[in-house]
C-alpha cells in the first residue's frame, strides 16, 4: 500500500491537470474557433497568372453532400480526360449533408485551400459573395476560359446570378420550377376509397383517414428538427396557394407575385395564415403527424421507404426520383405524386439554384473556369461527372436518357448539379406522371420583375438573427398544432416579431425592393 501512494497521487495530479486544461480549453473554445478560422484570411485576391496550360494543376473542389462510394474510380477516369484537355486534375472535398451548413461558411472564413466551390441561392451564394468569398468573374475571364459555356448559357441566366451587378458564379443551365409536390402512398389511398389528392382539402382528408385507420404509420412527416424555419407545407399551402413569394426563407416577409409595386407584408399577420393555422390544427388534432415532429431527426424519405410514413413534401425532381427508386426496389408499394396547387402560378427556378463559384484567393482561377466549362458542356466529361462510368453506374440510353444500374447508388447524392446543362440525361424510368406535372408547370411559369432581387441584410443583421429565432421558437410549434390556443399563439408570435424588429426589417426590405424596381 505504502509504495502505491506516490503513483496514486501522481495519477490524481494528472487528472486534475487534465481537468484544468480541458476546463480552460473549453473556456476559450468559442474564441479559438473564430480566431483559427480567420487567421489566414488575409489572402489576396489575385486571378491566376497561368496563361496556357503548360503546367499541370490540381484543382481543388468543395462539394456539398456525402462522398460517393466510387469517388476514386470515377474521378480517376475524369482526371484522365481533364489532363488530356486542360492539363488539370480535380480533387473534391465533400461536406456531408448532416453538417454542411456549419462547415461551408467556415471553409471560407478560414480561407482554406480550394479553387472551386459548389454554391447556390440556398447554399450561401449571396452571403459569401457579399462577404468577398468568391472571385468576381468578368466577361473577359469567362469568354476566354469558358468558350463552351459562354456559347450555351442564355444571357438571362448570367443576369440572374449577379450580386449587386457583379458576377460571382457560373450558374447551372437547366430551367426548372421550384414548387413543392407531395409524395403519397397511393395504395393506401385506394384501400380507403379516397379521392385523388390534388388540393389542400383532399390532402387533409387523406392524412386524416390514414392517421385514423393505419396503426403505426405517421400520415405525414417532416424533418422539423433541422432548423428550417419555412417548411415544405408552408411553401405549398401558404406561398403557392396564395401566389406569394417569400423574399428569403429566414424571414416571414413576402409580396404578391402579381403586385407590380412589390409591396411586402408579414405573412404571419394575414387572414390566410390564420386560416392555415386552423387547417394545421385540425390535422394535428387528428394525429396527422407525430406529437414529436419538432424533435424528429430521421430522414423522412427513409421512413417512408420503411413504411412508417405515408406522405411527405419535397421538390418535384426529388419526389420523382424517390418514386422511381421505390418502383425499382419495392414494386409492390404504390406511390403517387400529388400537386396540391395545380392551378396556381409557378415560379421558375432562377439560375442560382445550382452553380459553381471560384474561391476568391484561388491562384488557379483560369484553369478552374476551364474545368467548369468542360464539366458543364463537354458531353464525355459531363456524363462522367454527372452519372459516373457508363456500364457501371448507369446504362446510356441514346444520347439523352439513361437507365439506373445496381451501381447507381455508388455515385450519387452530392451536389454535381452545378454542372446541370442541356446535356443532362434523363432517367429513362423517370415517372411519366412527374414529367407530365413538370410540363404542366412549365406552362404556368410566371415571370416577374422581382425574380432576381437579392436582399442585402448588412444593415439589419441583428434583426434578421432575432427574427429567425422567433420563427423557430414561436412559429414552428404553432404551425404543428402544439399550442392549444392558436389565436393566442398567433398574437404572441406577432408580438415577439415586433419586439425582434420586424418593422425595421420590413422598411429596409421595402426600400431595397423599391430601389430595385426603380432601376429596372
Amino acid at each position: 500500500m505504502q509504495n502505491k501512494k506516490p503513483f496514486i497521487l501522481l495519477f490524481a495530479l494528472v487528472l486534475v491537470l487534465t481537468t484544468v486544461l480541458s476546463a480552460c480549453g473549453s473556456n476559450n473554445n468559442a474564441g479559438n474557433n473564430t480566431e483559427a478560422s480567420n487567421a489566414p484570411s488575409e489572402g489576396t485576391t489575385e486571378p491566376a497568372a497561368n496563361d496556357g496550360n503548360s503546367e499541370e494543376l490540381v484543382i481543388k473542389m468543395l462539394l456539398v453532400g456525402g462522398k460517393p462510394i466510387d469517388y476514386d474510380t470515377v474521378f480517376g477516369e475524369l482526371n484522365k480526360k481533364l489532363k488530356e484537355k486542360v492539363n488539370a486534375a480535380v480533387e473534391a472535398e465533400f461536406l456531408d449533408w448532416s453538417d454542411w451548413t456549419q462547415k461551408y461558411p467556415l471553409k471560407f472564413a478560414a480561407s482554406e485551400d480550394f479553387d472551386i466551390a459548389y454554391t447556390a441561392n440556398w447554399a450561401f451564394y449571396n452571403d459569401q459573395a457579399l462577404k468577398g468569398g468568391f472571385l468576381e468573374l468578368t466577361d473577359e475571364l469567362l469568354k476566354k476560359n469558358m468558350p463552351l459555356t459562354w456559347e450555351a448559357m442564355p444571357a438571362v441566366a448570367w443576369e440572374q446570378s449577379k450580386v449587386n451587378g457583379k458576377q460571382y458564379m457560373v450558374p447551372n443551365n437547366n430551367p426548372e420550377v421550384t414548387d413543392k409536390a407531395v409524395l403519397i402512398r397511393d395504395d393506401l389511398r385506394k384501400k380507403h376509397n379516397l379521392d385523388p389528392v390534388n388540393s389542400p382539402e383532399t390532402f387533409a382528408n387523406y392524412v386524416k383517414t390514414i392517421a385514423a385507420n393505419e396503426k403505426g404509420i405517421n400520415a405525414y412527416n417532416a424533418k422539423a428538427a433541422d432548423g428550417w424555419k419555412w417548411h415544405e407545407l408552408d411553401q405549398i399551402l401558404l406561398e403557392q396557394q396564395n401566389e406569394w413569394n417569400l423574399v428569403d426563407y429566414n424571414m416571414p416577409l413576402a409580396y404578391k407575385l402579381d403586385d407590380a409595386s412589390g409591396k411586402v407584408f408579414n405573412v404571419y399577420d394575414t387572414p390566410e395564415f390564420k386560416e392555415l393555422l386552423k387547417y394545421y390544427k385540425d390535422l394535428a388534432d387528428n394525429n396527422a403527424w407525430s406529437k414529436n415532429v419538432v424533435s424528429n431527426k430521421n430522414d423522412v424519405w427513409q421512413d417512408m421507404k420503411a413504411g412508417k410514413t405515408a406522405s411527405y413534401a419535397q421538390n418535384l425532381g426529388t419526389v420523382a426520383m424517390n418514386l422511381a427508386e421505390l418502383r425499382r426496389e419495392q414494386p409492390e408499394v404504390e406511390l403517387a405524386i400529388a400537386d396540391l396547387t395545380p392551378d396556381k402560378k409557378k415560379i421558375a427556378a432562377i439560375s442560382t439554384q445550382n452553380g459553381f463559384g471560384i474561391h476568391a484567393p484561388s491562384k488557379k482561377a483560369e484553369r478552374s473556369l476551364k474545368v467548369i466549362d468542360l464539366l458543364q458542356n463537354d458531353k464525355e466529361i459531363h456524363d462522367l461527372f454527372m452519372y459516373g462510368i457508363a456500364g457501371t453506374h448507369y446504362e446510356p440510353v441514346g444520347d439523352d436518357k439513361f437507365n439506373a444500374t445496381a451501381g447507381t447508388p455508388n455515385f450519387t447524392g452530392f451536389s454535381n448539379w452545378g454542372a446541370n446543362s442541356p446535356l443532362n440525361r434523363k432517367d429513362a424510368s423517370f415517372p411519366a406522371e412527374a414529367d407530365a406535372i413538370a410540363d404542366a408547370w412549365q406552362q404556368k411559369v410566371y415571370n416577374f420583375d422581382l425574380e432576381t432581387f437579392v436582399f442585402n441584410d448588412a444593415n439589419v443583421k441583428n434583426e434578421v438573427a432575432n427574427i429567425g429565432n422567433v420563427m423557430l421558437r414561436y412559429a414552428i410549434p404553432l404551425e404543428y398544432g402544439l399550442i392549444k390556443d392558436i389565436d393566442k399563439g398567433q398574437a404572441d408570435l406577432i408580438k415577439q416579431l415586433q419586439a425582434a424588429g420586424i418593422e425595421k426589417l420590413q422598411t429596409e426590405l421595402q426600400s431595397q425592393i423599391d430601389a430595385f424596381l426603380a432601376s429596372k
Partner: protein, 306 residues
Amino acid sequence: MNRHGFLGDVRKNKTLLLMLIPAVLFFILFAYVPMAGIVLAFKQFNYGGGIFGSPWNGLDNFRFFFESGNAWMVTRNTALYNIAFIIVNNVLQIAAAILLFEAVGKWFRKISQTVMFLPYFISWVVVGAIAYNLFNYDVGTLNSILTAFGLERIDIYNTPSYWPFILVLVSAWKALGYGSVMYLAAITGIDTEMYEAAEIDGANVFERIFHITIPNLYPTIIILVLLAVGNIFRGDFGMFYNMVGNNGLLFSSTDVIDTFVFRSLTTSNEIGLSAAAGFYQSVLGFATILLANYAVRKYDKDHALF
C-alpha cells in the same frame, strides 16, 4: 534557503518543469495567442480586411444579444443549470467515491467503477438519440411501459417543465464515473494511519467518513468547484443542442447562451456577433471566478486558487 538562485531552482526541479511544458504550450497556443481575436467583437468582419483590418463598429455586435429580449432568460438558464450541475454532480461523485473506497471486494469495485465510467465516453449525439428513443411520445420506451400498465402517456418533448430534471439527471449520469475517479484518487491519498488511529479509538464507518475522509477532501472539492464556477456562464453546447435541438416549445426552460447564439447565427454567419457573445460570457465568467476565489480566500487562505 535560496542558495543557488533561480537557475539552481530550475536545475533542481527540472523534471517537474519539463512536465509543465505541455500545459504551458497549450495555454500559450490556445488561450493567449487567440486572445487578440477579441477585437472581432467590436468589428464588422469581412474576408478582405481579416481580423485586424476589418472596420470597427463599436458596440453594434452586442446589440443583437441584448435587443433580442432573451438575454436575461438565457443567462439565467445557463447559470442555474450550471449551479445545479456543480452541486448535484459533485455530491454524487463524492458519494460514489466514498462508497467505492469503502466497498469490499476487488471485483465488485472494478466492475462498478467501469459501469459508472462508461457513459463518459458516449458522445452527446448518441445520448440525444438514446433520450429520444426513451422519451418520445409514440414509440418511446417510457411511454410503452406506461401504456402497458394502463397509464396515460406523457408528452415529454412538448412539456418544458420536465426538462430541468432530465438534463440534470443526464449530466450527472454522464459525469459520475469521471468525477468519482478524481475524488477516489484523493481519498486513496489520505494517510492510512489516521484511519487506523480512528479505528483504535472506536470510530465507526460513518464517523470515519465524516471526520476523516470528507475534511481531507476539502482542497480537492474547492479546486474542482472553483474551476467549474469559472465556466458557469458557458452552457454545455453539445449536451443542450443534442438533447433539445430546435424544439422551440422547450426553449423557455432549456435555452442557454450557447444554443441561443448558435441558433441565431447559423443563418447570418456573422462572426462578429458570435465573438461578442463569447466575450460577454468570458467577462461574466472572469468576474464570477474572481468573486468565488475571493470568498474562499476570506474563509481559508490556503485553499484559494490564487
